[in-house]
């Protein structure tokens, strides 16, 4: 009996370890190539760590390329998209969770359908829509498009968090003298912080790594985001792997900072103690 449990624990830990190794290996490789001097990249064969390392790729990317601009653009676009989508989806998610209204079923169905389209099909129509409005080649245009594409999923995500909060709580608040909106703002929303953090994180990463629309709607470097910028390292004749990977490592930093900021809420179960228990 005890042996079985021991084996179980060991197997469990091993499985976690394997999973973590597999998940982190590409990141490790990214870092490794970023610090490998160009002349060692091909000559040393496949090694886990180069015989000596260099930071020159990072210096070049920061000082001599347009990467700082791409970065700034990406931060603006992803940050705004995350905030706008989260604000809207907490309202729409609450509505789906708590209200019953006509055509709710069809509305939900329609939102699901939007998730089924291959995005490539939509590039041309979206371009046609945005260009007379002057929203191509602009960060605002990107924010609008990303918001539209992320809203349905974020709504479902927020709805599931609201569903997890007992209805009793807002009913108690309404009896205590709150309007439904006050109950939403003062009772429900604070309890949904983990959900809000998750949604912010999800949308931020989705927007941060989006390539297709960033590539199609933006021309020139002024409004380009970082994934588009990365492509710049692929030239007709060669790929500058060292610089590309260095840029990739730099691009991870804001995402990491962002998740560090929200992780407190991601893991916290705020509703503990709300009802009996």
């Amino acid at each position: 009996m005890r042996n079985f449990r021991l084996i179980g624990t060991v197997a469990h830990r091993l499985a976690l370890l394997v999973y973590i190794a597999v998940a982190l290996f590409p990141l490790y490789w990214l870092l490794k190539i970023a610090v490998t001097p160009d002349k060692l990249l091909y000559t040393e064969g496949v090694r886990l760590w180069p015989s000596h390392i260099t930071w020159s790729h990072f210096r070049f990317v920061i000082e001599n390329s347009d990467f700082p601009i791409f970065f700034r653009n990406s931060v603006i676009v992803s940050g705004s998209t995350a905030v706008v989508v989260t604000a809207l989806s907490s309202l729409s998610g609450y509505a789906l969770s708590r209200f019953s209204f006509r055509f709710k079923f069809w509305l939900v169905g329609l939102m699901l359908v939007t998730q089924m389209f291959p995005l490539v099909m939509l590039v041309a129509p979206i371009f046609k829509l945005l260009s007379p409005l002057g929203l191509t080649n602009s960060l605002t245009g990107l924010v609008i498009v990303y918001t539209a594409f992320n809203l349905p999923f974020a709504t479902f995500l927020m709805q599931s968090f609201f569903d997890g909060i007992p209805k009793d709580l807002e009913e108690a608040a309404m009896i205590d003298g709150a309007s439904q909106f006050t109950a939403f703002r003062e009772i429900i929303l604070p309890l949904t912080l983990p959900g809000i953090a998750a949604t912010l994180g999800f949308v931020f990463t989705a927007a941060w790594s989006e390539l297709l629309f960033a590539l199609m709607l933006i021309s020139g470097n002024d409004a380009a985001t970082f994934p588009v910028g990365l492509l710049g390292f692929v030239s007709k004749f060669a790929v500058d792997f060292g610089q590309m990977m260095a840029a990739g490592v730099l691009a991870l930093i804001p995402a990491c900072i962002f998740f560090l900021l929200i992780q407190r809420y991601l893991v916290q179960g705020l509703t503990a103690g709300a009802v009996k228990g």
Binding site: A172, G177, L191, L270, T271, G273, K276, G277
Partner: protein, 356 residues
């Protein structure tokens, strides 16, 4: 404080009508207990009074004002939920003062009201705690405290004690009774618990299937149940029912299935041969008397306070309750009789026929 009038209330969920015309007049300061089996619509009725469910038809009047279309917050009513529904992100003081803060009551008035309520409920040492750091009983008290700080027109309770263990429940029951005596607030209290209903209520409302079966004082319902449902529902262990036929000669009596003749104290004015049900409470079944009928002893349950005997009287189950421990040594059978002074009689439709 206020009176509450409920007139012809019905409630539909979609096509299903779950309340079929409820009428109830509740006086100022009265303590009303709603009892009934699960799903009979007690919570629904309570939630309609609170304004959490819409009224399908009929009128609800609180303190002379029709409130059908008023939002919960405009009805000035407090409610204690079965789940307590404490705000997890506020501490005890925050939970209790939330309603006052919403009304923009002055800070010192709030502090005064909270400490007053906390004092009444023994919550002073817990005011800074979050709900998750409280025991079930303490959470229950906070929920009560949240209701009383407001001094509302009426209190609604939906099975407030059902998540507590038996001992704590007893204690809180006494506390609620004490609070009601002190505050004198109109209260409507939903429960499954017999004892809560009997001990707390000024009047009990017994409901079944969305219909009020009987309204009366606890002893009214106990001594003169209006029909078989109320007779069986009130009291624990429940009343015994013996099917039989009415017979008028030589004297008024009920003939049980096996032919035994049980004399009635007076002539109920039924047609001879009519199907009836005889009822008697377990504590009224007389045991060990000479004469009487022979009953088999199936099971003996000592409760400490007394003893519940499961008997079979010619194939019909019969429960008896006695404080006499002598019955513990009785053999496989015992003599029982049904004193006519304690008999209840119900006609074929299940309605009470007066015997007293």
């Amino acid at each position: 404080m206020a009176s509450i009038d409920i007139a012809g209330i019905t409630k539909n969920f979609g096509n299903i009508e779950v309340l079929h015309g409820i009428d109830l007049d509740i006086e100022d300061g009265e303590f009303i207990v709603l009892v009934g089996p699960s799903g009979c619509g007690k919570s629904t009725l309570l939630r309609m009074i609170a304004g959490l469910e819409e009224v399908s038809s009929g009128d609800i009047t609180i303190a002379g004002r029709r409130v059908n279309d008023l939002a919960p917050r405009d009805r000035d009513i407090a409610m204690v939920f079965q789940s307590y529904a404490l705000y997890p992100h506020m501490n005890v003081a925050g939970n209790m003062s939330y309603s006052l803060r919403l009304r923009r009551t002055a800070k010192d008035r709030i502090a005064q009201a909270v400490s007053g309520a906390a004092g009444k409920l023994g919550l002073e040492p817990l005011l800074d705690r979050r709900p998750k750091a409280l025991s079930g009983g303490q959470r229950q008290r906070v929920a009560m405290g949240r209701a009383i700080v407001r001094q509302p027109k009426a209190f609604l309770f939906d099975e407030p004690l059902s998540n507590l263990d038996a001992r704590l429940r007893e204690q809180m029951r006494a506390e609620i009774k004490r609070l009601h005596a002190e505050l004198g607030a109109t209260s409507i209290y939903v429960t499954h618990d017999q004892i809560e209903a009997m001990t707390l209520a000024d009047r009990i409302v017994a409901m079944q299937g969305g219909v009020v079966q009987q309204v009366g004082t606890p002893l009214d319902l106990y001594d003169r149940p209006a029909n078989l449902f109320v007779a069986g529902f009130i009291g624990s262990p429940g009343m015994n029912f013996l099917p039989g036929r009415y017979d008028a000669a030589p004297g008024p009596a009920v003939i049980l299935a096996d032919g035994a003749r049980i004399a009635l104290p007076l002539d109920p004015g039924l047609a001879p041969g009519a199907e009836v049900t005889l009822g008697i409470r377990p504590e009224h079944v007389a045991l060990g008397e000479s004469g009487g009928m022979e009953a088999g002893v199936d099971l003996i349950e000592p409760t400490g306070l007394g003893i519940i005997l499961h008997l079979s009287l010619q194939g019909v189950g019969l429960k008896a309750f006695t404080a006499d421990r002598g019955v513990l040594n009785s053999g496989p059978s015992i003599r029982v009789s049904l004193p006519s002074a304690h008999l209840h009689l119900f006609d074929s439709a299940g309605n009470r026929v007066a015997l007293r």
